[in-house]
Symmetry: C2
DNA sequence: GCAATTACGCACCTTTTGGTAACTATAGAA
DNA sequence: TTCTATAGTTACCAAAAGGTGCGTAATTGC
């Protein structure tokens, strides 16, 4: 008799370092430029498609729709279709989405605070190897 | 006389929503599954290549090297080559890297806390459309 | 009647990400 | 002598991310 451990159930304590743990999937979902920015933007309040495009600056219609759909699918974003013509669709954060946006805003602040340090390091690194 | 605004300098207040702002680049750097996990892992202390592979569980040698190199280039990770044979290379967090890891750990905790909510939402969403 | 508006869907294409396998060098162990 | 371990690199290939342009619906304004 042999015991197959490859399909063993995930350990009781969730761990993002465990590739089979579902929390890893949750992390991968938000480890995306557009997902992060969309959730941060929606923290300012419900927004329509066009408003989000303006806020994000350079997202394509395709990527915006695609990312919003994934976020809605995972319950982070709520999509409300007023079913009018011309269309009127509003996106907002769900309670879970809002619990995430707080942390993401901290990340935004980190980027805005330390980007100059990264820029300098990158310049030093590149200058050293191009010789 | 025409004024070209396309190359206008970035505003004085850094903003991740401004595509031309360098802080956006910083955000994109860490908006990556492997970058996030590597920095979180290094928070536990300096690690060698093989130890990181074990900790991350399912990263390929190629992606690990590639991501570490980008993080080193931007000054988040410090690479110390002891120049011995067989090779001995240690990776650790720089001060900026450490300032980031604190926030990333909060993200990890978020994923480990709320993944079940996401799983449930996803299942509901998929069940509704496959009919 | 014609154009604009809105939030998409779809087809096509390019770029980036990621995986696999083979190769490098040398010390120490079997 | 051959095997193992170390931390990579390179070439090749598959998959995912991402961009562009076109089509769609009905209502409002000209």
């Amino acid at each position: 008799m042999t015991i197959d451990l490859t399909e063993a159930p995930t350990t009781s304590i969730p761990d993002v370092f465990d590739p089979t743990c579902s929390s890893r999937h949750a992390l991968e979902l938000i480890a995306s430029k557009w997902a992060m920015l969309i959730i941060s933007a929606l923290e300012e309040g419900p927004m329509r498609n066009a408003a989000l495009m303006r806020r994000l600056g350079d997202v394509s219609q395709k990527m915006l729709t695609q990312t919003l759909k994934e976020l809605e699918r995972n319950g982070l974003v709520i999509r409300e279709d007023k079913k009018t013509v011309p269309p009127h669709v509003e996106y907002s954060l769900s309670p879970v989405g809002r619990s995430l946006s707080e942390t993401l805003l901290v990340l935004d602040r980190w980027a805005e605070t330390h980007f100059a340090t990264l820029d300098a390091a990158r310049e030093r690194y590149d200058a050293e190897r191009e010789r």
